[in-house]
């Protein structure tokens, strides 16, 4: 296998690497990459975990991989339906080991803005809104997020609005993996196609990089698992992630 990452495989695989054996792990709406990461972890690793999702699935075996990460096929071959109220309650009572949550802006403490660009009352851009984060980020044992654009407008010193507080355990972009250390995001590793200097230059908050190193390349099992989920590259094409210029200008 070639020692290389595509920006897409970098994000999905590094999200999958946050998943740990036997833990309860959740993927939600608007979350194609975490959905792929969760399905990938089931195939790539020689241990198992408890996968629940917003379609109500509990360790589902979907017959196809949906575009919508809340698609009902994600509850195919499930033995129970664990519905929306259930997984939120699970989280607030402290039993959600890992949840994936979207974020438009992320600051150095790992808080998130999903609400607005600009002033809340006179927004420049109205974003999707509170969603899971405000309740799940502070109550899940760990929460991880991803951004397809690594820039000073997505990784910011100061959020336009703090939708969710609590500190992401992990953040993945096309060029970097951050994890929480002593209450702040620290650089864990950088994409070998990029560099520590580039990550610093393109990040709006300051971070500790003392333990950072180039990200380990994907294993054969990881590569094969992701390929089996996206054999024709449709997800990769649709995601249109690039290392340096985000395909979509909108945040």
């Amino acid at each position: 296998m070639p020692n290389s990452w595509s920006p897409f495989s970098y994000i999905v695989t590094n999200l999958a690497r946050f998943i740990r054996p036997n833990e309860i792990t959740f993927s939600g709406v608007n979350s194609s990459m975490p959905m792929l990461a969760c399905l990938m972890a089931k195939r790539a690793y020689d241990w198992d975990y408890i996968y629940i999702n917003v379609a109500g699935g509990v360790d589902p075996e979907p017959s196809s991989i949906p575009l919508s990460s809340s698609d009902p096929v994600l509850a195919e071959n499930t033995a129970s339906i664990f519905d929306n109220e259930d997984f939120y309650d699970l989280c607030t009572r402290g039993r959600m080991d890992l949840t994936f949550l979207g974020a438009a802006q992320i600051d150095g403490e790992g808080s998130a803005n999903n609400s607005v660009i600009g002033n809340w009352h006179s927004p420049k851009v109205r974003l999707p809104g509170g969603g899971g984060g405000a309740v799940m980020l502070p109550t899940a044992k760990r929460a991880c997020t991803w951004r397809t654009e690594h820039s000073k407008r997505t990784l910011v010193d100061k959020l336009d609005f703090r939708t969710s507080w609590g500190g992401f355990h992990g953040v993945v972009t096309p060029i970097a993996v951050f994890i929480k250390r002593d209450g702040r995001l620290a650089l864990e590793s950088w994409n070998p196609e990029s560099s520590l200097e580039e990550v610093k230059e393109r990040t709006g908050f300051t971070f500790d990089a003392s333990q950072a190193k180039p990200t380990e390349y994907p294993t054969t099992a990881e590569i094969e698992a992701l390929r089996s989920l996206d054999p024709h590259g449709h997800f990769e094409r649709d995601a249109a992630v690039s290392i340096r210029i985000a395909a979509h200008a909108a945040p």
């Binding site: 709406v29 608007n30 194609s32 917003v54 379609a55 109500g56 575009l67 919508s68 990460s69 809340s70 698609d71 009902p72 509850a75 339906i81 519905d83 929306n84 109220e85 939120y88 989280c91 607030t92 009572r93 808080s111 999903n114 609400s115 809340w120 006179s122 927004p123 420049k124 851009v125 109205r126 974003l127 999707p128 809104g129 509170g130 969603g131 899971g132 984060g133 405000a134 309740v135 799940m136 980020l137 502070p138 109550t139 609005f161 703090r162 939708t163 969710s164 507080w165 609590g166 649709d238 979509h248 909108a250």
Partner: protein, 279 residues
């Protein structure tokens, strides 16, 4: 007025069902994003030129977008709004909020559920976990209270939200109006319990014994349902598991431009489906 809905005559046309919605009503819409939403009902709201509606839903998308596009929404209370898949933000909703044509009460999904739970439980407010450090409570003027028993941390309390009408798209109903859905119930259950009344569209009318054979599968008992209408494909262009998937080309067409022509064509494409049903 009795507390439940008994009697015959609940099975009405979609037009008659939607005619029960007064202007200015608050509607909790079932489903989530493009999945099992009462979308034929929503389009009929537009055809009947309702005005000043309040829309309540944890994760609206197509429904709030098309209602904003038609200009018949006054206020929305929502957790997360998007078209999902590859479609991204909901453009007409976004425009309506940015231009201040529509008032937004921004929630986390779970705070909206907490408000609905308060109404369902018959109490004025409901504690909700999380929310520490979030700017959302302040925007909404929510209060945080100490645990009166002195055992736990302070907790945010969300005021009761009691929609005038819950609108649910179901898989099956029987003649009396018992309701079943397949797959996840999304937030339909708490919506039905918190609302003053429930209106239902359903893919199929089934014989009574289907429900009595397996009563534990029933999501909403008939006495909570004021009226229903049989509307196959009623969640189009969204999915209704296990009958049909999202009609992606139709959503793409809807999203292709914000012009009136595209909206009209979309409503017409849907109404042809409705005519087929009535035939």
């Amino acid at each position: 007025m009795a507390s439940g809905f008994k009697g015959k005559g609940k099975n009405v046309s979609l037009e008659e069902l939607v005619a029960k919605v007064p202007n200015g009503a608050s509607l909790a819409l079932g489903g989530s994003f493009l999945h099992r939403g009462p979308f034929a009902f929503v389009r009929e709201l537009i055809r009947q030129k309702k005005t000043q509606l309040e829309i309540i839903k944890q994760s609206p998308g197509y429904d709030i977008d098309i209602l904003c596009r038609a200009g018949i929404v006054k206020k929305v209370r929502a957790g997360i709004v998007a078209m999902e898949g590859n479609f991204g933000l909901a453009p007409s909703y976004r425009k309506a909020i940015e231009s201040k044509a529509v008032e937004l009460e921004e929630h986390a999904c779970a705070t909206l559920t907490a408000g609905l739970r308060a109404a369902a439980y018959g109490v004025p407010f409901q504690p909700c976990g999380g929310l520490q450090g979030s700017d959302i409570p302040n925007i909404n003027g929510w209060k945080r209270i100490d645990d009166p028993y002195g055992q736990g941390e302070p907790v945010w309390v969300i005021p009761a939200i009691s929609p005038d009408i819950a609108v649910i798209h179901a898989n099956e109903v029987d003649q009396q109006g018992n309701v079943r859905v397949y797959g996840t119930s999304h937030w339909d259950r708490i919506m039905s319990r918190s609302s003053k009344t429930v209106l239902v569209t359903a893919e199929k009318l089934v014989e009574d014994h289907i429900f009595t054979d397996q009563p534990e599968v029933t999501l909403i008992p008939y006495f909570m349902v004021e009226a229903f209408s049989i509307v196959p494909q009623g969640a189009w262009p969204g999915s209704c598991w296990p009958y049909y998937e999202i009609d992606y080309p139709a959503v793409e067409e809807y999203m292709s431009s914000l012009s009136q022509d595209v909206l009209d064509a979309h409503l017409k494409a849907a109404s042809e489906k409705l005519e087929l049903i009535n035939a």
